[in-house]
């Protein structure tokens, strides 16, 4: 396998993810309607909107996990770092390797902490490249980056599913790091966590900012304001407004956005 993913073909302009006229149907139900947007590279962009408006659906288009369901149909274009991910020469494996995803409920694999972190390496690198020292380094670096190394370094062999939720979610972020993704997608990553856990994940997002293009779905308006550079407001499968977070919250252009951020519906 060649690692000719987006990274090689990247020009350094500021666009991370671009969609054009993206539509998606679950069977007969159209969940995304002509979504055209451009998410900036290296920043944190939040996706907000009332329940059922298609935030998760949009996010899951970016790494094409929606295609697991046979009844999903997509039209339009998604470019990630310049490369159309629906091109026939795109390999799903490479695409998903370069686009990490964090889920709403922390879902560490039913393996040890150590194996969770090196999972990406194990599936993407030939076994001959995976010496013990290399794996150990990867684990230390990834756990270090999410601030779990000191807490977990003595129990790397214990099952990841036994950690506290907050640690599980951090681990789910850490396991993306060894394969060096360019984009991290997060679907309400804090909704299962308490206030402390939420704050910890937000801090972590800020520390990752710049190196990764981060897209985060959130129901929590305050979180979007605190933790994102830009915000996208969606309604009924359409993009209503996409601006810098401050602007979107302080002087929204669209009436519907204004009503939503004031909490009139949602």
């Amino acid at each position: 396998m060649t690692v000719a993913t987006a990274s090689a073909a990247t020009d350094q302009e500021g666009t991370g993810i671009e969609t054009r006229e993206l539509c998606l149907w679950y069977g007969d139900f159209q969940a995304l309607r002509s979504v055209t947007l451009s998410i900036r590279r290296g920043l944190i962009t939040s996706l907000i909107g009332p329940s059922g408006c298609g935030k998760t659906t949009l996010l899951r288009c970016f790494n094409r996990v929606n295609e697991r369901y046979g009844y999903v149909r997509t039209t339009g274009e998604i470019r990630i770092h310049g490369k159309n991910i629906y091109d026939p020469d795109v390999s799903l494996v490479e695409l998903r390797k370069s686009i990490g995803m964090v889920f709403q409920r922390p879902n560490p694999l039913p393996l040890s902490i150590y194996e969770n972190v090196v999972f990406g390496l194990r599936i993407h690198r030939p076994r001959s490249e995976l010496g013990k020292t290399k794996l150990d380094e990867a684990v230390e670096r990834a756990l270090g980056e999410v601030g779990l190394w000191h807490a977990l370094k003595d129990r790397l062999k214990s099952p990841a599913t036994e950690l506290q939720l907050e640690q599980q979610q951090k681990l789910c972020i850490a396991r993306l790091i060894p394969t060096e993704p360019e984009v991290i997608l997060m679907d309400e990553p804090c909704s299962a966590l308490d206030v402390e856990g939420t704050r910890a994940i937000e801090e972590l997002m800020w520390s990752l900012r710049g190196r990764y293009t981060i897209v985060i779905v959130t129901h929590n308006m305050a979180q979007a304001r605190r933790a994102s550079d830009e915000s996208i407001f969606m309604l009924l499968g359409e993009i209503v407004e996409h601006r810098r977070t401050e602007d979107l919250f302080l002087n929204p252009r669209d009436q519907r956005t204004a009503e939503y951020v004031e909490g009139r519906y949602g």
Partner: protein, 319 residues
């Protein structure tokens, strides 16, 4: 029992009090009916226990006299000489029968485990919905074939086939029995194995796929470790099925008391021996009692296998 308190004979008509939001008041008949039903269900549950112990007790009673008076346990377990009807020198060594049972079962498992688990993985992870339903029906059909019919197939299909393919004089042997047992235990492995895989939360699959794993990598690295207890239980239940199977192996293995040196040697199993000889042994005779002792041995083996399978499944629930 924790039935709700009997309804107070009411100042209000019963029909009203049934649906009354005030409290759990129901007609006397309904309460009585429910408690009767509860007892019937309870009896059904208890009867299962009674049957198991009843059978065990019966088998034990028929054999126990000889077990403690007359049977030489050393000869029983370690001699291959099975001459229960010899006039001059009666010998009851079942070693060859034990080896027969285990060789047929072992070979059957070597064949059935890869097939059964492979099919379980295919059905649960790689199949489209329409195919899955069809396959499951087919597999259940396989489970419904009576074992005599399998024996038939062993004699009329497998026997010439084995002679032809392996150039051996007789096709009624360990291999034949093992193939039949494999076919018979695959269905149970597939259905239990598929349940075990289905029980793995979908979030694990999504996590793995979203990291870029292929479906096969997901199976190997995530699903198999996650479902390993359930899959082990599937295998053990298949083993239990194979150990206890009688008619097909009786017909297909050649019926010779013999320690096999290759898969092409005929053998005889514990089960086949009981089935073949019990009718001819006179009730209460030592021969008759020894057959019951063999029954106890079989019972113990399958009980142990099933118990382990059960404990393994409980392990899943905990983990």
């Amino acid at each position: 029992m924790n039935l709700p308190p009997a309804p107070v004979a009411g100042t209000r008509p019963l029909s009203v009090s049934t649906g009354s939001p005030r409290g759990p008041r129901r007609s006397r008949a309904a309460v009585l009916g429910e408690s009767v039903l509860e007892w019937v269900i309870r009896l059904c549950g208890i009867s299962a226990i009674l049957f198991v112990f009843g059978i065990f007790f019966f088998v034990l009673r028929e054999g126990v006299g000889f077990l403690f008076g007359g049977l030489k346990l050393g000869e029983f377990f370690f001699s291959t000489e099975w001459y229960p009807t010899s006039l001059s020198n009666v010998r009851y060594g079942v070693l060859a029968l034990i080896v027969g049972t285990f060789s047929v079962t072992g070979l059957a498992m070597l064949i059935a485990v890869p097939f059964g688990l492979g099919a379980a993985i295919f059905v649960s992870e790689f199949c489209s919905d329409r195919w899955r339903e069809g396959l499951k029906i087919l597999i259940e059909l396989l489970a419904a074939i009576p074992s005599v019919v399998w024996g038939f197939i062993g004699i009329s299909v497998m026997n010439p086939l084995i002679q032809e393919v392996f150039h051996v004089p007789v096709g009624l042997n360990v291999l034949n029995g093992a193939l039949l047992l494999a076919l018979m235990s695959v269905p149970i492995m597939v259905s239990i194995g598929e349940d075990a895989l289905k029980a793995v939360p979908d979030s694990f699959r999504e996590a793995s796929l979203a990291m870029g794993a292929t479906r096969w990598q997901t199976v190997r690295r995530v699903l198999l470790p996650a479902a390993k207890n359930g899959l082990l239980a599937a295998i053990l239940l298949g083993v239990g099925r194979a150990v206890g199977e009688t008619m097909a192996v009786l017909m297909a293995t050649g019926h010779a008391v013999n320690i096999p040196k290759s898969p092409f040697d005929p053998v005889r199993t514990l089960t086949a021996t009981i089935a073949a000889e019990l009718g001819e042994a006179s009730v209460g005779s030592p021969h008759y009692q020894v057959l019951f002792i063999i029954g106890i041995l079989l019972f113990t083996i399958t009980f142990a296998v099933n118990l382990v399978a059960d404990l393994v499944v409980k392990g899943t629930a905990k983990g």
